[in-house]
Amino acid sequence: MFEISLRIGGEAGDGALTAGNIIAKIFSRYGLYVSTYKDFPSQIRGIHTNYTIRASSLKRFSRPSKIDFLFAFDEKSIIFHQHEIKENGILIAEEKILGDTKLRKDLKIFKIPFLQITLKEFKKEIYKNSILLGVFSCFVEIDEENFINLLEETYGRKGKEVLEKNLLAFKIGRNFVNENFKDIEKIKFPEKKENDNILISGNEICAISAIYSGCRFFSGYPITPATEILEFLSKFMPKFGGVILQVEDEIAAINAAVGAGIAGIRAMTATSGPGFSLMTEGISYASMTETPVVIVDSQRAGPSTGMPTKFEQSDLFHAVFGGHGDFPRCVLAPSHPEEIFEFTNLSFNIAEKYQIPVILLLDQFLSQNLFTIKIPEIEKFKIERGEFLQEPQREYKRFSFNENGISKRTYLGMDETIFHITGVEHDEEGHITTYAPLRKKMNEKRFLKIENLKREMPEEIVLGDGENIIVTWGSTRLAVEEIIDDFKNLKIVIVRGIYPLRENLKEILKGKKIICVEQNLQGQFSFLIEKLIKREVIKILKYSGRPFHPEELKEKIGRALYE
């Protein structure tokens, strides 16, 4: 197995993201599985930020426990991250920042006067990231050409001058290392594997799947970490004749999406915690009016504004229980970048077949980081629209009772066919009623759909067949699956259909110790599991805003198993 990881730390504006993305792409094209980890503040300039790139010959996407390289543009990078460098690892630092900070003795330290070089060559502090790339290229056995190609791709469209300056900065970085440091032991890479892989963020996968899955209406409001869905669709939706609206707030976003859903269009909105809270009434309206709509909630650290750019899995209660009144819904949570395409597609199918709002729970880690994946086999994913009225019907009852609770829908504007929609309790025709027996029957009709839906919820992924069970959900899976070989007698259960849970899960979760790993303070998923299996689980939780890495998880699981 081959693995390499590096972190670039500096002040926001130092260019860690651009340099990191270029390195990530070089690795990914090389045939390695890359994942990134953005640890960025919610501020544009002048505060510490760091970006981690991990590349592995195996599909390992969690935040790495230790790094091989640290690039430090600011002192904080050293203070915060030097302990995370592997033993005898490499620290490449801006010369100027190495003041009083004690450095680890085992590290191989390379001081580079980034600032001085930029001032001398370019008269201002600029192109540091390309110098960094030049420096880094001296430490890896990858052809220089790979770097140059990507610099050309990245800066080529910004004009000749920008490109030339960046290429020059790259050369300067390279030359500086070659002239000043002898006998650098280059990291050997496995043989390059030609591939068709892509390096893409979860948000972008979700947006492409939405278009593929027939979504033709998207209304949203920018919010970290969901904004890229809005941005991507803004660019591509018009090409497919769809509607994209950035509206005044999340209340408008959900209501517009529901309006399109009523009209008969596949509609979606995407948001994060604060916006998701604002959408709550609209989601309850969608469910009451039996309107299909997909709501993507890319979770971030809460509560309130919380930490907008940080990771957490704490919207589960809100997704499952949020809202006034009793109403059916579906909550799905992909656990892996490779599942996002499928789950976005599934969200639309479930929303239309069951005429309910579907909440697709992503999180900051999946949404905003880049992952190497194969282009999904899209032919496998179909558009299933559910029950539609086939021809005009004069006495059409939009909410007719039947054995499965699903009444035939139609689109607004079908000849000679009218229907009434209301968030007030209503009869089969959609007319307002408070008549007790009818109210009871309607309420039960809506929930009947959940019973049927349970049978169609995605199955759990089960790894191993031990007696001790670790159950997890969402991107926490990425760290969990990496520790499977570290323990005996273990079974890992990854749940992707959060609500309603499948009945069969009760059987799967029969074991000695049941450990639930998730990243919030209350153990929100544990609560659902405990209710289902009617026994207490051991909770392993984290809520610092940074996702588990495998090492810390290994220790916690070890304790849970043997203490």
Binding site: R29, D196, N197, I198, L199, I200, E204, I208, I211, Y212, S213, G214, R216, F217, S219, P238, K239, F240, G241, G242, V243, I244, L245, V247, E248, I251, A252, N255, A256, A257, G259, A260, I262, A263, G264, I265, E281, G282, Y285, I375, P376, I378, E379, I383, R385, Y411, L412, G413, M414, D415, I418, F419, H420, I421, T422, G423, V424, G430, H431, I432
Partner: protein, 285 residues
């Protein structure tokens, strides 16, 4: 067409309620223009006005409080063949839904937005609304309203609405004229209808309005925005209400700007060329 075909449930409004006039005028306009009920969508909000959708035999969407405009906009974009009419009240539009109102004026969707403005919250039995006059005594303002009232017409003009009118429920023929013109207007048609509440507003009665209404002299409104604003503002300062079509201008509509063609989205296939999906993915190679 006979007006009767548009008749829905029997209205549950109080006898004499101004909202009857809006309902009747709408039915007249529908019949006169022979619009099939299946091509009409009434999108209403919460409040007495919100019941309107239940009283017509056309499509209707009874939305959440304040959310008429996002829903109506989405419906129109989804299917440009539909006549989409937003029906809401003063609380719906000028309180809880105010931001949607201003942004809809800016966006210019091809919908007709009728506000049944009775200057009181009727369905919750008599609290003041954003259009209640200063000093108005209501169940939640026993010592009188201390806020200045909102004028929806001025707001609409300032926010970029392309058709602005004010009607009066005491003048159904006037409403018919306005609605008909609105029906032919390409863009956001806003109509504030002074629609007296006979049960909870004893101040702003039919008689009270009759003394204060000034009818627009230009039958099709003013085309120069600053002049329209000045007219409305001056009447407002004098405690009077300008009625009729106040302003109309031609501008590209939201549909013009964002829809490729007028073929309803609902009639288009959702399947797309797989190659196009692969091309999107290829950006990330």
């Amino acid at each position: 067409m006979n007006e009767k075909i548009y008749e829905g449930k029997k209205p549950g409004w109080c006898p004499g309620c101004g909202d009857y006039a809006v309902l009747n005028a709408l039915k007249k306009v529908f019949a006169k223009n022979k619009i099939p009920p299946s091509k009409i969508v009434i999108v209403s909000g919460i409040g007495c006005s919100g019941k309107l959708g239940d009283y017509v035999a056309t499509n209707s969407i009874h939305t959440l409080h304040g959310r008429v405009l996002p829903v109506a906009t989405a419906v129109k974009l989804s299917n440009p063949e539909l006549i989409v009419i937003g029906a809401s009240g003063d609380g719906d539009t000028y309180a809880i839904g105010l931001s949607h109102f201003i942004h809809s004026c800016r966006r210019n969707p091809e919908i007709i937005h009728i506000v049944m403005n009775n200057q009181v919250y009727g369905l919750t039995k008599g609290q003041f609304s954003p259009t209640s006059l200063k000093g108005f005594v209501s169940t939640s303002t026993p010592y009188g309203v201390f806020e200045e009232p909102v004028d929806g017409v001025l707001l609409a003009l300032e926010s970029g609405a392309t058709f602005v009118a004010r009607g009066f429920s005491g003048d159904v023929e006037g409403l018919v004229k306005i609605f008909e013109r609105a029906l032919n207007h390409k863009g956001f048609s806003f109509i504030d209808v002074l629609s007296p509440c006979v049960t909870f507003n004893r101040l702003n009665t039919y008689e009270w309005f009759k003394e204060r209404i000034i009818k627009m002299e230009e039958p099709f409104g003013i085309r120069y925005l600053p002049r329209a604003i000045r007219f409305v503002r001056e009447a407002w300062e004098e405690g009077r209400f300008l009625t009729g079509i106040i302003y109309e201008v031609k501008k590209p509509t939201l549909s013009d700007l964002i829809l490729k063609d007028k073929v309803p989205l609902v009639k288009k296939s959702l399947e797309i060329n797989k190659q196009e999906v692969l091309e999107m993915f290829s950006i990330f190679k």
